[in-house]
């Protein structure tokens, strides 16, 4: 078989096609123009974004919704630097994306040529790896290796910088021979059998175990295994923000989200546990609270693919390094050998523990805003709850993807939208990137056109990337946008209220009329300010055929509770005010 001689630009697209790419998100410019010139010959749909940051977030949302590698493409210089926030977002949440940037011709590299920037240098700390291709024949092997690195092990973003002359030059194209060596987990990075035995011993000795379910479950596609594990040994499951959806929220063993804004019983259960099984999570400061008093009586088993996470924040008793699915697969037969089963006759029965956790819920539900009588005010919690109820009533919980921005509405979403299915929540957890929601929702819709996609954003964050409304219009995507509009940078305001003597410095924000803004993009919308209008409007948006923007004017000075102040222990939380009927405006 002979292999064709192609230009570097053609090799780029042909390699992407070979890797199974059907959609890329990008923005053309001088140094990447040869690639754009060749695009029309290949079956790849290019989504033109309004800003390269949007391209990176869309690739990110695409990857999170589909599990495939997302691809963003930009030109050199400012195009490349605009990707940086998006790449860092993907890095902190371990999302597999490949970013392709144009670069000035190799002959002028390092000469401060027009739109030249050292993007591989800039992205060194925020990529899993990056490459520079200066010749056409380097492109196919580099792109293929980039895909492998992005998706293997602990996933992450990879950047490939391709000079203009590499795109213009020619080379033989051989997709098969460009394959990197098959990915092999590092021999060192393996759960040792002695460690597995120690983990099982700890399980056998435990009466109050809790599983900490993290993002790793989704990356490892181990949702079924974790569920089976929890059910078999009757271990309650607390979830991190990025782990939401990995374990069904309505499951009797599901506790809910842990950490800074987790429900009180979840954090109390962790603090009182005698064994924590950390599945693909990294003991982030937002889930541990004060480390000195974190789960003081618990032995800790950490199943994690990245050894640099072991003993980083929390010292663990057993570390099982490897892919969660594989490690659980190795563990389970061994547990059966030792007849560890949570049946009524076993010493390891957890029913007493489950009853104790049930009792911890106390009056939390009574103080929940959802269960309080309508007082004429619209709360963000109502909006989230009603969007969830709408999806539930339509039987589309598994087909509803929520992309959130960062801040109060993000936490309310995590608390009130009960995610039953994996990959239904797309949110920036690690970096906390405002402006993430709208482009991520576009990426998710491109990946899963069969799903109802909601972008839930605050009035602040939405304006950071609101220009992508125009992308929605151009692509004619049915994405529903819910803007939780309280006239403040809400989380900033809440912190100022709690820790800065209510000095609301620069947190009040004046917004445009979002419905008119949507209208200018040819997108219909509606204002909602009363509880009774929420569900009809949400239904209208969901069942329509066009994108829809809803501006929810919610309670201005509402707070996210429970809340753990920085430096406080995980169980020292500020509960919801009781009752939360009075509001700032009533006073």
């Amino acid at each position: 078989m002979t292999h064709p001689t192609l230009t570097g630009a053609e090799i780029l697209w042909a390699t992407l096609v070979g890797e199974g790419v059907t959609t890329v998100f990008g923005y053309p410019g001088g140094a990447i123009l040869p690639a754009y010139d060749a695009l029309r010959k290949f079956p790849i749909h290019h989504v033109l974004t309004r800003h390269e940051q949007g391209a990176a977030h869309m690739a990110d949302g695409y990857a999170r919704a589909s599990g495939k590698v997302g691809v963003a493409i930009a030109t050199s210089g400012p195009g490349a630097t605009n990707l940086v926030t998006g790449i860092a977002t993907a890095m902190l949440d371990s999302i597999p994306i490949v970013c392709i940037t144009g670069q000035v011709s190799s002959k002028v590299l390092g000469s401060d040529a027009f739109q030249e920037i050292d993007i591989t240098g800039i992205t060194l700390p925020i990529t899993k790896h990056n490459f520079v291709a200066t010749r056409a024949e380097e492109i196919a092997p580099m792109i293929r290796e980039a895909f492998q690195i992005a998706a293997s092990g602990r996933p992450g973003p990879v950047l490939v910088d391709i000079t203009k002359d590499a795109q213009q030059g020619t080379a033989l194209f051989n997709f098969e021979e460009s394959a990197p060596d098959p990915f092999r987990p590092h021999p060192m990075l393996r759960a040792e059998s002695t460690e597995v035995s120690r983990a099982i011993e700890l399980m056998r000795a435990s009466h109050r175990p809790v599983i900490l379910a993290g993002h790793g479950i989704i990356h490892s596609a181990a949702e079924r295994e974790v569920r089976a594990f929890a059910e078999r040994y009757q271990i309650p499951v607390a979830t991190t923000l990025l782990g939401l959806g990995a374990f069904p929220a309505s499951h009797p063993l599901a506790l809910g989200m842990m950490g800074m804004h987790g429900e009180s019983w979840v954090n109390h259960a962790i603090q009182q546990a005698d064994l924590l099984l950390a599945f693909g999570m990294r003991f982030d400061d937002r889930v541990t609270g004060n480390l000195a008093s974190y789960a003081p009586n618990a032995k800790k088993i950490h199943i994690e693919i990245d050894p640099s996470e072991i003993n980083k924040n929390v010292l663990v008793d057993v570390a099982l390094i490897g892919d969660l699915k594989e490690v659980l697969g190795t563990m389970e037969p061994l547990i059966h050998d030792k007849s560890y089963l949570a049946d009524a006759t076993s010493d390891n029965n957890t029913s007493q523990w489950l009853r104790e956790i049930g009792a911890m819920k106390g009056d939390a539900a009574v103080r929940d805003i959802i269960n309080l009588p309508d007082n004429g005010h619209l709360y963000a919690a109502h909006v989230i709850n009603d969007i969830w109820q709408e999806a539930k009533a339509a039987g589309r919980l598994d087909k509803t993807i929520i992309a959130t921005d960062v801040g109060q509405h993000q936490m309310w979403e995590a608390q009130y939208f009960k995610h039953e299915d994996t990959r239904t929540l797309i949110t920036s957890g690690g970096l906390g990137t405002m402006g993430f929601a709208l482009p991520a929702a576009i990426g998710a819709k491109m990946a899963r056109p069969d799903c109802d996609v909601w972008c839930i954003a605050g009035d602040g964050g939405f304006q950071m990337t609101a220009s992508e409304l125009s992308t929605i219009g151009q692509e004619n995507l049915h994405i529903n946008v819910a803007i939780i509009n309280n006239g403040f940078l809400g989380m900033v305001r809440q912190w100022q209220e709690a820790f800065y003597d209510k000095n609301y410095a620069c947190s009040p924000i004046l917004s445009p009329d979002f419905v008119k803004l949507a209208g200018a993009h040819g997108i219909p919308g509606a204002h909602v300010a009363e509880r009774k209008d929420v569900t009809p409007t949400v239904t209208k948006a969901r069942t329509g055929s066009s994108p829809f923007v809803i501006n929810f004017s919610v309670e201005k000075e509402d707070g996210v509770y429970p809340m753990i102040a920085p430096g406080s222990a995980l169980h020292e939380m500020v509960l919801r005010p009781n009752p939360l009927i009075e509001t700032a405006e009533d006073e």
Binding site: L124, P187, M188, D306, S308, I310, N311, L315, D317
Partner: protein, 205 residues
């Protein structure tokens, strides 16, 4: 305390930056770093000596493993490895130097005692080459200074290290070295101290 890591890394542009950048990010100071060819094609060998708390070693090692360019990392204690450094020292040794006409013979004597070699002899200076443990080199330099010799230039390579005995790592065995023997690698070790491993900036007591 000082940690000595030996890393086998891809011999490609940018690899040094990636390794150095990792230490920068962890806020760990590199005491010395040597890079050169290894016994394998396309693989460089780095010996990195850094000053970090005792419990930081595991995390530095794990972070080194995270780099795509890294093939293997080993941490060497002093007892189990040969650690050597090469040093060139140029000393003023002419009629106008502090010891005058007798400079040369005194330097020859010192060189003899410290097993250093004279590699260059000029009318006004002598260059010594010395290979050995860092402490030996520092010993020679100290004697030279305390004997009032004028040291004109010092160039040290930084430390190079290799495990003693018939040892090759488990990783190299997996990569296909014929002579490898299996050595148990207990990782990660739980540090004895309760200090958190990410507190690199704090100095040890």
């Amino acid at each position: 305390m000082l940690h000595t890591f030996v890393a086998l890394v891809d011999d490609k542009p940018g690899t040094l930056t990636r390794v150095a950048s990792l230490f920068r990010r962890l806020n760990v100071n590199i005491v010395s770093l040597t890079v050169g060819e290894s016994e394998r094609d396309g693989i460089s060998r780095m010996t990195i000596v850094c000053d970090a708390p005792e419990h930081a070693a595991d995390r530095i090692r794990a972070s080194l493993y995270k780099l795509e360019s890294t093939r293997d990392v080993d941490e060497l204690g002093r007892s189990e490895a040969v650690i050597r450094e090469l040093c060139l020292i140029k000393i003023a040794a002419g009629p106008n130097s502090p010891h005058g006409q007798h400079s040369r013979s005194q330097i020859f004597e010192l060189a003899n005692v410290f097993r250093a070699r004279v590699v260059d002899l000029a009318p006004e200076s002598i260059m010594l080459e010395m290979t050995g443990a860092a402490s030996k080199i520092e010993g020679l330099l100290q004697v030279l200074r305390e004997s009032n010799f004028e040291i004109l230039e010092v160039s040290r390579t930084g430390r190079m290290a290799m495990r003693r005995g018939h040892h090759t790592s488990r990783v190299l065995k997996a990569l296909g070295t014929k002579t490898a023997e299996d050595t148990p690698v207990a990782f990660p070790d739980r540090p004895d101290t309760d200090d958190l491993p990410n507190q690199f900036s704090e100095h040890e007591a």
